[in-house]
């Protein structure tokens, strides 16, 4: 299997605090991998390193056999957890921006996704609801023919119908030769589309594996395992 992401002994310190502590993680082509953990577990730091927004303190990170840099940025499509478009834009302006900026942007794919999401080119960004905004952002990000898609909390705060559309779009755009890395704390809604999960707790990987195998081993859903692993932080009682 081709490895899209290879992370070896990755550590990131902010002064003396370790945000990531000796992370080892490989992601194979064709996998949808979930990074699960509460706020402050290191999810965002990990994403920022993969997208080249932060540099690691030590360790090695390769995407498609390359160190983080110009090449990796060209093959990583990233959905941030906050809006990245300007309020004055119409959807067609956002589309134009992406098309100009990313050579791998697929106009046809975008048109399909837009229709699927029931969005139109003429719509103004500042009139979109939160769910529509999320659907637009995801459509833009998935329209790139990237090797690695990083989706940061793709269904946070959207209604169930929008959530289903987003899940469908993710499944539809799944490709055997690219990978997806999805962070979420809405484990219940997402777990069935994740092939592998990584539990991140205080900067360390505390549990990782194939989703179906973990379910079978523990006799419970990933959501229940999540509650167990993070019980102390979030006040759950298993």
């Amino acid at each position: 299997m081709t490895k899209i992401v290879e992370i070896k002994n990755l550590t990131k310190k902010y002064f003396t605090k370790k945000a990531l502590d000796n992370i080892n993680l490989d992601i194979e082509a064709g996998k949808i991998v979930g990074i699960l953990g509460p706020n402050g577990s290191g999810k965002t730091t990990l994403i920022k390193i993969l997208t080249g927004l932060l540099r690691q303190t030590s360790g090695e990170v390769l995407i498609d056999k390359h160190k983080i840099g110009v090449y990796t940025k060209s093959i990583v499509s990233y959905l941030p957890d906050r809006n990245f478009l300007y309020k004055w834009m119409k959807i067609e302006d956002a589309f134009q921006l992406f098309k100009d900026f990313y050579p791998d942007f697929d106009t046809e794919k975008f048109a399909e996704l837009l229709a699927f999401m029931k969005l139109e080119m003429k719509m103004k960004i500042d009139t979109l609801s939160k769910g529509m905004m999320e659907k637009l952002n995801l459509s833009l990000v998935l329209s790139r023919n990237a090797k690695l898609y990083i989706l940061d909390e793709p269904i946070a705060g959207v209604d169930p119908v929008a959530r289903d559309q987003i899940l469908d779009a993710i499944i539809n755009n799944y490709h055997a030769n690219s990978s997806m890395l999805i962070t979420t704390h809405l484990v219940r809604d997402m777990e069935n589309i994740l092939e592998e999960v990584v539990f991140l707790k205080e900067g360390k990987i505390v549990l990782t594996g194939d989703t179906e195998t973990l379910r079978a081993e523990k006799g419970k859903q990933i959501d229940a395992i999540y509650k167990e692993v993070f019980a102390t932080e979030e006040g759950y009682h298993a």
């Binding site: 469908d168 069935n192 589309i193 419970k220």
Partner: protein, 123 residues
């Protein structure tokens, strides 16, 4: 679809497809949905469906034709065996649960025949 907590999802989806075959919703020779379409229907990872199809193929219930898709077996005997197997499994589960409730085999048979007769009256 709500999945059971204790069984792998691919097995639960296998069960749904088996039900569709036994009930005639899917007939011998019918094409199964593409992996992607079924993944969307159940909102699961496409590789889960892939695995489900592989296991069904191992049980000779479906066959794959390269480039064309996955099809339900045309072997009537295999489908009949599947049906019998599923019926036996249901019966077994029912009997175990009834025995756990403390019913004797005679009582169970009586309950069933009463129930079946009552249904006949209404139908």
């Amino acid at each position: 679809m709500e999945f059971d907590q204790h069984l792998p999802i691919y097995m639960q989806i296998m069960h749904v497809i088996k039900n569709r075959i036994v009930s005639g919703q899917l007939r011998g020779g019918d094409k199964l949905p593409s992996v992607r379409d079924l993944a969307k229907e159940f909102k699961v990872n496409p590789n889960t469906i892939q695995r489900c199809y592989q296991e069904l193929e191992r049980e000779n219930l479906v066959f794959t034709q390269r480039g064309l898709g996955t099809f339900v077996t045309e072997d009537v005997e295999t489908i009949k065996n599947l049906k019998t197997g599923m019926a036996q499994e249901l019966t077994q589960n029912y009997l175990e649960q009834m025995q756990r409730l403390g019913f004797t085999p005679q009582e169970i048979i009586k309950l069933i025949s009463t129930r079946v007769n009552r249904r006949d009256d209404h139908d």
